[in-house]
């Protein structure tokens, strides 16, 4: 659990947008995993199994409408400021991070989830397909649509 806590928390944070809600969800993920450990098939990676639980739980929460409306804006994608960057660079990075956060947050839940799992968490297409119980082609097209959306919104920050 110690090894996987940050990944599960990361997915929940990017999907739900607030640290408090993300912690609650991540805790629920581990409790569910604890109760359903007998169902875990040894052939799958434990991390993929946890991602699957976390993904379902987040999508359910988002669909249920019970979640808090307030999102904790920049916090979700906060980065540690680099000591070497000039104030101008810091400002630009700050703006870019804010734009990136907004762009991710504005994606549809399904596209956001695929992009988070692929580009932020580093899962392969096959792992994503297994975790979300999707066809490989669906994963590929969903991911591509999500990236195109992001590219349009982040055009101004691209080199």
């Amino acid at each position: 659990m110690i090894a996987h806590q940050h990944r599960v928390f990361g997915v929940a944070l990017r999907m739900l947008g607030s640290r408090a809600e993300a912690e609650e969800a991540a805790q629920e993920v581990f409790l569910r995993a604890h109760r359903a450990i007998a169902d875990f098939r040894g052939d799958a990676k434990l991390s993929t199994w946890l991602y699957a639980i976390a993904s379902r739980l987040c999508l359910n929460r988002l669909a249920s409408g019970e979640r808090r409306l307030l999102r904790e804006g920049e916090e979700t994608l906060a980065r540690i400021p680099s000591g070497h960057a000039s104030p101008a660079d810091e400002l630009e990075r700050s703006e870019r991070d804010a734009a990136l956060h907004r762009a991710i947050a504005e994606l549809s839940d399904e596209r956001r989830l695929v992009v988070v799992l692929r580009d932020l968490e580093g899962l392969s297409y096959e792992e994503i397909a297994a975790a979300l119980d999707l066809e490989l082609g669906t994963v590929r097209s969903r991911l591509h649509r999500a990236r195109l959306d992001l590219k349009e919104k982040l055009e101004r920050f691209l080199p």
């Binding site: 659990m1 110690i2 806590q5 940050h6 599960v8 928390f9 990361g10 944070l13 990017r14 640290r19 993300a22 912690e23 991540a26 805790q27 581990f30 409790l31 604890h34 979700t76 994608l77 906060a78 980065r79 540690i80 870019r96 991070d97 990136l100 991710i104 992009v115 692929r118 580009d119 932020l120 297409y125 590929r140 097209s141 991911l143 591509h144 990236r147 195109l148 992001l150 590219k151 982040l154 055009e155 920050f157 691209l158 080199p159």
Partner: protein, 378 residues
């Protein structure tokens, strides 16, 4: 391959997720299309931005909190949850159930005679118990003749004191345990007899009631007599002054008397017979207001009750007597009459002619107006 087809594959190309065939086709198109190459670069930059995002870290103490939450809740909390949650549903239902059960209990209680009788008996018991535990014996040796507010309370207290005396004696004479126990066991019949005694005070000449009262009076007199005979309390034991100070042998007799007084069932114990025949004590303050014992009582067995009653009426008229009251007894009518002392011998003689006359009780000194109670039996 068209630009549209090629651009659909760009993400997969970046992720190296294309088959060899697809990859060759896309790369062939890109080699000839500057726009698509530019599109690929923009997409690569976008993905690079995403992948540069700092990985999120779970908050400090997250694992501990999860482990804490995974631990099963204590049984008390689980019970409360099971009983009360969700409270908007369960609380009203449970409250309604409690009210329903309460109403049911009251209904059943009201509908059941036996329970009400039990309650009645239960209300008698604490009175005796309380006085048994708390009421100290009065310092006066004349305690047995003390006049409380009601005759029944007096009787109960009397019993309690007798028991108290018996207990004191038990402490002085350890060998008395068995007797003490039997006295305690007979306490209950005595209490059950209390309401009956009340009926007796209304119909004072009723035979059974008369006997029971005589027994109780006998017991209390017995105790009082023993107290009067008892040696005075020694200074070394001031706390028991006024209670029974008796030798073990005397204590045994006292307990025996108390036990006999309480057993209304045992048919022929000697003190009772004695009491029936013996003159009643001159003063019985507790009953004074309700009942004054007659000077003479007797039983007249006749063949024809109605004829006997008429003869009796004529007899009274002749002798100057007056019929005061008439009751209905078990065997027949009970007549209370008053007759001048000088006519009393004539009355006895005439009664003997009316039927089988049996004189049960006669006061040693007759007053000027003799009160006579006659039981007319068939």
């Amino acid at each position: 391959m068209t630009c549209h087809d090629a651009r659909e594959q760009l993400s997969a190309l970046i992720d190296d997720a294309l088959g060899a065939e697809e990859r060759r086709a896309v790369e062939a198109h890109l080699a000839t299309c500057a726009d698509c190459r530019r599109e690929l670069e923009r997409l690569r930059d976008t993905v690079a931005l995403l992948r540069a995002v700092e990985p999120a870290r779970a908050p400090t103490g997250f694992v501990d909190r999860v482990l804490e939450a995974a631990r099963p809740a204590p049984w008390s909390r689980r019970l409360v949850r099971a009983l009360l949650l969700p409270w908007p549903v369960k609380l009203p239902v449970e409250a309604a159930a409690i009210v329903l059960v309460a109403v049911g209990v009251v209904y059943v209680f009201q509908a059941t005679q036996g329970l009400q009788q039990a309650r009645h008996l239960g209300s008698v018991q604490p009175m005796t118990t309380a006085s048994d535990q708390a009421a100290p014996a009065p310092p006066s040796q004349d305690a047995a003749r003390e006049a409380p507010s009601t005759p029944e309370a007096a009787r109960a207290k009397q019993t309690a004191r007798t028991l108290e005396g018996a207990r004191q004696n038990k402490e002085q004479a350890p060998g008395q345990k068995a007797l003490e126990k039997s006295a305690s066991e007979k306490e209950t019949p005595e209490k059950k007899g209390a309401p009956t005694s009340q009926a007796f005070s209304e119909a004072a000449q009723h035979k059974d009631a008369d006997e029971r009262r005589a027994k109780l009076d006998d017991a209390s007199r017995d105790v009082a007599k023993r107290r009067a005979n008892a040696p005075p309390a020694t200074p070394a034991e001031p706390q028991v002054a006024g209670k029974l100070e008796e030798s073990p042998a005397r204590a045994e007799r006292s307990q025996g008397a108390a036990a006999r007084a309480r057993s209304s069932a045992s048919p022929a114990s000697e003190p009772r017979v004695d009491t029936l025949q013996a003159p009643r004590p001159a003063a019985t303050p507790p009953m004074a207001t309700a009942f004054v014992p007659p000077d003479v009582s007797g039983r007249l067995a006749v063949a024809n009750r109605d004829a006997a009653l008429q003869d009796l009426a004529r007899l009274l008229a002749r002798l100057g007597g007056v019929e005061d009251r008439r009751f209905v007894g078990d065997e027949g009518p009970i007549i209370e009459l008053t007759i001048p002392r000088e006519a009393y011998p004539d009355l006895l003689r005439e009664l003997a002619t009316l039927g089988r006359w049996q004189l049960i009780r006669e006061a040693p000194a007759l007053p000027e107006k003799v009160r006579v109670v006659l039981r007319i039996a068939s």
